[in-house]
Subunit: 150 residues, 2 copies
């Protein structure tokens, strides 16, 4: 069994990342894996922003996981920089094998390297398994996450 | 009564912003208004990042409100760009006069101008009044917000 390698995404990874975003109860309704155009535009935006880290997890040649880490400066909490984790996905073939934990632990370590004092994420209230997962890793679900669709 | 002007924060605004961050049930314990050093460092980080908008609301010469808007590109939701609102504070003298709503409406409009498809924020579960406020403005509290202190 080959080890997992977590590395920055390259443009050729986009189809496999989008397939994973869409292969999900909530994602199926809001992604368009047959039309990669908007994802390629978004990838260029991410590449041009030094505070965005779009990562993939590889097992050998197979893309098996992804997440996005954003580093955000701020004044509150004595000028704390925080990181935000978004778009965590693990390929169906890897579920229950610890890859989600490896991805989140990578994000926590990278946040430290980037000088963050706080890591945050929001998880849909319809994903109770995900909530238990984040609590097990030491996250505290202290907040309500609000969204406003434009 | 002078009108409210919402404009980007300048370095001379920092003491008044920090005083507002600290003048709050949760903020009192985690801010240090007597030591502005870390806030000035954080202000420089914000200034050097074109995706961060630290704003203040002025009534005449008086700083009466603040918020931070962050614009974050991403792949999910068909390559949506989202904005995140943090550090919303309204001066005690202004509470109940609609300034909070003006600040959030400014953030929603600026998010549209920046090409965002989604505005998000998290609010401490200990602030039920804030939750009703955001729901009234059209936000949906669909997520749990997790934090991990480094």
């Amino acid at each position: 069994m080959t080890d997992i390698d977590i590395r920055p995404a390259v443009v050729d990874d986009i189809p496999a990342i989008v397939a994973m975003l869409a292969d999900d109860a909530l994602g199926a309704a809001r992604e368009s894996p047959d039309d990669l155009g908007p994802y390629l535009v978004a990838y260029e935006r991410l590449q041009s922003d030094p505070h965005q880290f779009l990562m993939v997890a590889m097992r050998g040649d197979m893309l098996v996981g992804t997440l996005q880490l954003s580093v955000i400066a701020g004044l509150s909490r004595r000028g704390s920089t925080r990181s935000v984790i978004e778009g965590v996905r693990v390929h169906g073939s890897e579920r229950g094998r610890g890859l989600g934990q490896q991805l989140i632990e990578w994000a926590i370590e990278e946040s430290r390297r980037q000088g963050c004092q706080l890591v945050q994420l929001t998880s849909d209230a319809a994903r109770p398994d995900a909530h238990r997962f984040y609590e097990r890793l030491g996250f505290v679900g202290s907040h309500v996450g609000f969204k406003y669709q434009l």
